[in-house]
């Protein structure tokens, strides 16, 4: 358990730092790469949370696909790959209090609700089969709906991005 805690702590810190860099860096490509770190960290956390399949999906879909999309998007919209100055808008400062207030609110709610409740010690890793049983069992209808969403998105993206 201790090892897990240490692991969690290291990954969490890395994630937070990376996330902060994502929202503060002045270079779009850097931001994308920092985002990779966040996403990879998230995948690691999923493993700590006994969610193998989700973690793998995270790596495949996010880091594999979404990131490539981002990088392509960046390159297609901006030729410049380097530091830029006008990435932030003039309301930048407003974000800090907003974020802090939210954090305080959530922190209050969390400490109040869960206090020092612990996760079950000997959690069994959720197998892919269990997940698929769920998806293709009770959650089949949402799965279909999601398929349509994805289809629509693909079509939409092509329509939007098509040059003509």
């Amino acid at each position: 358990m201790i090892a897990q805690n240490i692991g969690f702590l290291i990954i969490a810190i890395v994630m937070i730092v990376a996330a902060l860099r994502v929202v503060t860096t002045n270079n779009v490509v850097h931001a994308a790469l920092w985002l990779v770190v966040v996403l990879a960290g998230a995948a690691a956390q999923y493993i700590l949370l006994a969610a193998e399949f989700v973690a793998v999906t995270q790596v495949l879909v996010y880091i594999g696909a979404v990131m490539v999309l981002f990088l392509f998007g960046t390159m297609l919209t901006r030729a410049r790959i380097g530091a830029e100055s006008d990435l932030n808008n003039s309301y930048k400062k407003l974000g800090i209090p907003v974020g802090l207030v939210m954090l305080v609110a959530m922190g209050l709610a969390l400490t109040d609700s869960f206090g020092d409740e612990k996760l079950p010690e000997s959690a069994k890793v959720v197998s892919t089969q269990e997940v698929s049983d769920q998806i293709f069992g009770p959650y089949l209808l949402p799965f279909w709906a999601l398929s349509f969403v994805l289809l629509a998105a693909v079509v939409g993206a092509i329509v939007l991005a098509r040059k003509d």
Binding site: N89, Y91, L94, G95, P97, V98, G99, V101, M102, V104, A105, M106, L108, A109, D112
Partner: protein, 771 residues
């Protein structure tokens, strides 16, 4: 108003007299003189100084008369009878059902200090006639000196803490005015500020202590004595009655002692005192050595029962007072070694001696400590006036021993003689006065079980002897240097002058070179030195019981007193003294247990029996100090004027071998570099460094950070937040009208910001409501 005196009748069989009954006139005279000097002083032929001197002389006469009658009064009492203090009080003001008095409380202690203050004030004023002649603010100087004496005398004979506080603060004010007398120079005004402020910091303790004592004691004193909780007599009796809550009285005693630490320059608030030497020398002599600075000691002695009970004096282990006293003795004595300014040596010496007084009081040696106030006043005033005499007539207003003095014993024989007598008294050499007081303190401290502090006292005695020898050597022996050699370099020495600007009138005189001072200066010196020599015999314990006059006259007798109080209104308390037969002969329970039938005014204290052996031992230590210091000084300081002829002579006088002469330079190096530099200097320097950097540093840091904080608070909180809120509310009203428009800017990120902030606030509200 009710300020009119109503005659009080004391029906005790004790002798009294006009002077005792009218002792309250003693401070009133200088107070009136002060007003007169301020109003008409400048138009008088001697610019108002004659009023000051006259008022001091009349106060002195009154005080002496009161002293004489007090002696008669104690003599008229039987040996174990409680000598009733002569108390008179009138209503000063009333508020909220409380009656605040003004009046006199005359007993041995106050008489003693009254005489000392009046006497030294008189001499110092006479001395100042010459010393400050031609000063730009001559009149103001005398006005302030006179007001000071008035304040101090009022404090000394105060019958209640309110009047005490009044005198105490007036002294602080005069100290401020007099240290900053030559305020054109920044250093002087800063020293004045520092002195007032440091003392004032301690005064918080006095305010708190008085308040606590008043409210805790008032009920008891009203019931048993018919006086208010401010009354010194009432507080003393209350403290010993067994009634007070031990926590309250302890806190009150500590609070009061903090005030004493500030006023009497005790560690760690002593740093103001050496700086206060920026004032004219008569001021240093009067305020900052012999009288004002003992006010703290006086407060402890005055309210001794409170400290006795509150701090558990004579109980097991050390208490706050002895610890502070002990630290002060050693720390400040060590500092005296590294000073070049003669007044600073004396200032540190004063601090150290005040430490002795505190040590004595804290260790139950009440009488020796009080006696030390008495003797110390004479020899220390004499030393300061001597230093002033040197700077006035020989060293062109410089106080730098190393640069502008040396070899003055021949040109200033009177100053030299008086200085030597006072130095020996300060060192505690038999039969000079310091011996009878300081040695008694050390002896009694050991006798009462504070062995560690007795050793500290002895170390202090050793150091005292050593640094005074060094100062004496630098000043009066060796070759004349700088100004005292007649070649004063104006531009160079001006910085260290204390009186340059105002003494221009004397420059003509200066061209004659060093010479003995005039009669107005030397006569006070001679008088003081005679007293420094002889005053110790007033309580010469070594010669037996019959010589212990002070014990008879000054020490309150710790007898349980059965009193009948007649409540005839303010100013008419009538006291009948009825000690019952068996109480007279049994040992007093005062201070150790709750008095059963009567009232105690003073705790029972022991007196160490005098032993010649012990005295010899401390004498040996003192002489050792003098000898070692003398040798060191000779070897060290003559290096600066390496003329072989003079050297041989001096060393011959000392009876040293020729070898040392030959190896002079070698030994110089050895002593200065190896011994002094490696042992004495580091310790002393470290202490001085601690003093200048840590203590002063903390003070400065606190001052600076307070300023910074206040600056920050002012800038950010006051101007931005509090003020800003108000200002913004105006702009807000205006901007609210146009506020709605920007929200519809069409900018996505703004919408996002608004959305999230609203969500955040809503979430917070929900959370707060739900928790």
């Amino acid at each position: 108003m009710s300020l009119l005196a109503s005659e009080s009748e004391i029906l005790a069989p004790l002798a009294s007299g006009w002077f005792l009954e009218h002792a309250w006139l003693i401070p009133v005279i200088p107070a009136i003189a002060f007003a007169l000097i301020i109003l008409i002083g400048k138009r008088l032929p001697m610019k108002g100084s004659e009023l000051g001197v006259l008022s001091m002389i009349s106060s002195l006469v009154l005080a002496a008369g009161a002293g004489y009658q007090w002696i008669q009064r104690t003599n008229s009492a039987t040996e174990d009878q409680f000598v009733e203090p002569v108390i008179k009080s009138w209503s000063w003001w009333r508020s909220g059902g409380f009656d605040f008095g003004i009046g006199q409380h005359i007993d041995g202690l106050s008489i003693l200090v009254l005489i000392v203050v009046a006497f030294i004030s008189t001499l110092v004023q006479i001395y100042s006639l010459e010393y400050l002649r031609g000063d730009r603010r001559y009149t103001h100087f005398f006005a302030a000196l006179t007001l000071f004496s008035g304040g101090m005398l009022a404090m000394v004979l105060a019958d209640n803490m309110m009047l005490f506080l009044l005198g105490w603060e007036i002294m602080g004010l005069c100290s401020f005015m007099l240290i900053g007398h030559w305020w054109e120079e920044d250093a002087n005004s800063r020293a004045a500020l520092k002195a007032f402020f440091t003392v004032r910091t301690g005064d918080v303790g006095l305010l708190v202590g008085i308040s606590m004592l008043y409210f805790s004691a008032n009920d008891w004193t009203q019931e048993h004595l018919g006086v208010s909780g401010f009354s010194i007599r009432g507080i003393s009796a209350w403290a010993l009655s067994g009634a007070p809550n031990s926590t309250v009285i302890t806190i009150a005693a500590v609070a009061l002692f903090i005030a004493c630490i500030g006023k009497s320059g005790q560690f760690p608030l002593h740093t103001w005192l050496p700086d206060a030497m920026a004032g004219p020398t008569p001021v240093s002599s009067l305020l900052h050595s012999s009288t004002m600075v003992v006010a703290g000691v006086y407060l402890v002695a005055r309210l001794y029962p409170v400290f006795f009970v509150g701090l558990n004096i004579l109980g097991s282990g050390g208490n706050l007072i002895v610890i502070i006293g002990g630290i002060t003795i050693v720390i400040s004595a060590a500092l005296a070694f590294v000073q070049n300014d003669i007044k600073r040596v004396l200032a540190y010496s004063t601090v150290s001696q005040l430490g002795y007084m505190m040590l004595g009081l804290g260790a139950g040696a009440w009488l020796p400590a009080v006696f030390h106030i008495f003797t110390h006043a004479f020899f220390k005033a004499c030393l300061f006036l001597g230093a002033g005499s040197i700077s006035h007539s020989a060293s062109h207003h410089s106080f730098d021993m190393k640069r502008d003095m040396g070899g003055l014993r021949k040109v200033m024989p009177i100053t030299f003689t008086t200085w030597i007598i006072s130095t020996l008294a300060l060192c505690g050499v038999f039969p000079f006065s310091g011996f009878f007081s300081k040695d008694e303190i050390i002896d009694n401290v050991g006798h009462n079980g504070y062995n560690l502090f007795m050793i500290i006292g002895l170390i202090g005695a050793f150091m005292t002897a050593a640094y005074m020898t060094r100062a004496t050597y630098l000043t009066f022996f060796g070759e004349p240097r700088g100004a005292s050699a007649g070649h004063a370099d104006h531009g160079d020495t001006h910085n260290s002058h204390d009186a340059d600007a105002s003494h221009d009138a004397h420059d003509v005189e200066q061209s004659h070179g060093p010479h003995e001072s005039g009669l107005l200066i030397t006569i006070p010196l001679i008088i003081l030195s005679v007293l420094a020599l002889s005053s110790g015999f007033l309580n010469a314990t070594p010669f037996g019981e019959s010589w212990e006059r002070m014990k008879l006259w000054v020490e309150p007798r710790s007898v349980e007193v059965v009193e009948e109080t007649h409540l005839g209104g303010p100013g008419e308390s009538l006291i009948i003294n009825l000690p019952s037969a068996e109480e007279v002969h049994s040992k007093s329970v005062c201070g150790s247990a709750q008095p059963e039938t009567g009232i105690c005014y003073a705790p029972q204290l022991n007196h160490a029996p005098f032993k010649w052996l012990k005295a010899m031992m401390s004498m040996a230590i003192v002489f050792l100090g003098i000898a070692i210091s003398w040798i060191l000084s000779t070897l060290l300081f003559t290096k600066r004027a390496p003329r072989l002829v003079g050297l041989t002579q001096r060393v011959k006088i000392l009876g040293f071998g020729h070898k040392l002469l030959v190896n002079k330079y070698y030994l110089d190096v050895l002593y200065e570099k190896v011994i002094v530099r490696s042992i004495a200097y580091p310790v002393a320097r470290a202490a001085y460094w601690f003093n200048q950097n840590i203590l002063d540093g903390i003070l400065h840091a606190i001052a600076n950070s307070t300023r910074k904080i206040s600056g920050w608070v002012y800038k950010n909180v006051d101007q931005l937040v509090v003020d800003g809120t108000v200002n913004n509310s105006a702009t807000l009203t205006k901007s609210l009208g146009t506020a709605a428009q920007p929200t519809q800017s069409g900018k996505v990120s703004q919408y996002a910001a608004l959305l999230f902030s609203a969500a955040a606030v809503a979430a917070l509200v929900l959370v707060i409501i739900n928790t």
